[in-house]
Amino acid sequence: MAHRYKDFRPRLVSPMQSYGLLAVVAAVAVLAPLVIYPLFLVKVLCFMLFAAALNLVVGFAGLLSLGHAAFFGGAAYAFAQAAKVWGWPFEVSILFGVVVGAALGFAFGLVAIRRQGIYFTMITLALAQMVYFLAVQAPFTGGEDGIQNVPRGSLLGLIDLRDTITLYYVVLVIVVVCLLQIRRMVHSPFGHILGAIRENETRVTSLGLNTSRYKLLAFTLSAALSGLAGALKASAFQLATLSDVSWHISGEVVLMVLIGGIGTLSGPLFGAIFVVMIGHFLATSGLPVSLVVGLVFMACVMLFRRGFYGETVEYLRTRLLSGPQATPKADK
C-alpha cells in the first residue's frame, strides 16, 4: 500500500483568498510606476531582494551576518566596472556582479563558519569592513566619488533600459523570479536540511552530515542574490559608491529582516519597503537617518521580536484558528 503524507503547514487564508491577494499585489506592482517615482520603486525592489537574500541565512540557517554590504556593494562595483570601463553588455555585467558577490560570500563563509553564534557575526562584520577599506584604497573604485555615470545599456540588445519605467519592469521580473526561487529553495531538499541544522545542529551531525558545508552553500547563495540586488541597484542609479559597502547598509538590511519577521518568507519584503521609505522621507526632513534607524531597531528588538509579519501571523493564528487544525494534537 502506498503512503503519501501532506506537507503540514497551517494555512491562515483559504486558497481563494490567497489568489485574490496575489492578484492585488500583482496589480499594484504593475501599476505602481504610474503613480510613484519609478527609480524609488526600483530601489525598493532591490532592497526587497537583498533582505530576502539575507533572510535566507539569518532566518533559515540561523546565521546572523552583519557583513552583507560587502556582497551588495562589491557586486555594485563589479557591475559598474564591467559596464562602464570594460563596456560589457548589461546582462553580462549583472552576471559578473552576481559572480563577484558569490565569490566574496564563499570566501567569507570559509573563514566565518569556523566560529559560531556572536563570533560568526563579529567575523562577518570585520571581513566586510576589510572589503570597505579595500574599496577606499583600490584605484578602480574612485574613492569618495565612487564610479559614476555607469551606462545602463540594453537588455540582450533588444530592450533599451535608459527609460526608467522599462528598467522598472525588467527589475520587477528579475526580482519576482528570484523571490519565487528563494521560496522554492526554502522548501527544497536542501532547505529542509538547513532548517534541521538551525533546529539542532548536533543531531544533524550525528546523522552523518557535515553541517559546515550546508551553511557554506547557504551563505554563498545568499551572497550571490545580494550581489544581484547590488548590481541591479547600481544599474538603476548608474552609480557604485562606498556607502553601498559600509556597515550601515549591513545594519539596515538586518533591520529590514527584523522588522518584517526573521524566518518568514514575506516579512523581509515589508521590512524593505518600510526602511527604504523611512530613508526617503528622512532625506528631506533633516533628521539623521541613523538616529531614527537606530531607534526603530531598538524598539523592534524590545517590542516585537517576531517582526511585523511574524506578529501579524501569530495574531491571526490565535484569533482565527483556534480549532484543532491550528494546534496539532498535543501528546502530553
Binding site: A2, H3, R4, Y5, K6, D7, F8, Q181, R184, M185, H187, S188, P189, F190, G191, H192, I193, G195, A196, E199, N200, T202, R203, V204, T205, S206, L207, G208, L209, N210, T211, Y214, L217, L221, P328, K329, A330, D331, K332
Partner: protein, 253 residues
Amino acid sequence: MVIESDCILEARGLRKVFGGFVAIAGVDLRVQTGHLHALIGPNGAGKSTLFNLLTKFIQPSAGEIRFKGQDVTSAMPATIARLGMVRSFQISSVFPHLTVYENIRIALQAHARDTWGFWRSEQALHRFDEDVHDLMTQVGLEPLVYTRAADLSYGRKRALELATTLALKPELILLDEPMAGMGQEDVERTSALIRSLARRHTVLMVEHNLKVVADISDKITVLRRGEKIAEGSYDEVAANDEVRSAYMGGAHG
C-alpha cells in the same frame, strides 16, 4: 578469544582528560557483532563521555578506536555516522519544531544523501513517504505523524529519536540511557523495541540500572570513575565485589 572480524567496534587505551580531571582513564572496549552490549555505571562514571569519544563528538586525549577493522581515531563525527555507527543522546535530541514526519524524513534524506538539491521542489521528498511510514510504524508513532516533536511526551521523543537513528540503517547503534525518565509503560514498550532491534543490529547501550539490562543484554561492561571495573554476563558482573561496592557507594554518595 574473539576472532578479529567478530568485533565490530574496538577501543584501546581510550583516555580523556578535561583540564586535569581524568574522565576516562584508559578504557579498553570490544563490542562483538550481533551483541546487545550494555555499559553501566553510577552517575559520573564517564559513560556518556565514552560515547562522545567513540563517536568523535569529543577528541580523545589518548587511545585508538577501530570500527569494522578501520582506524577511525581521527575521523569526523559525521564520517563515523556515515560508516554505520549511529548514536542517540542522553538528552533526547530531535528537531522540536518539525513534525514527526519531517523529523524522520530528514534522517532518510541524510541516508539517501538527498540533501543538496536547493533548486528542486519539495515534491521530490515524497519519495521517502513509504520509508517514513515503515519507521513510524516500527516505533509506534504513526498516529502522531503531524505532531510537532516538541509536543510529544518524553517517551515518544525517545521513540522518535530511535526512528531517526534506524533510518540510517546503522550497523552499530549507540543508545545513551534510552529509558531514563520514562514511565513504566514507556519503559516496557521501549525495552521490547530495543530487544527487537538487537535481533538485526549490534547495539551498545548505556544504562544506569543493572536490573533493567539483566535480561536483555549479551554482555555488560561496568564503568566507575572512568575505569572499567568488570565485564561479562549479568551473573558474572553481579557477583563482582567491586561492582557491588560501586553500586552501594553510588547509592549513598
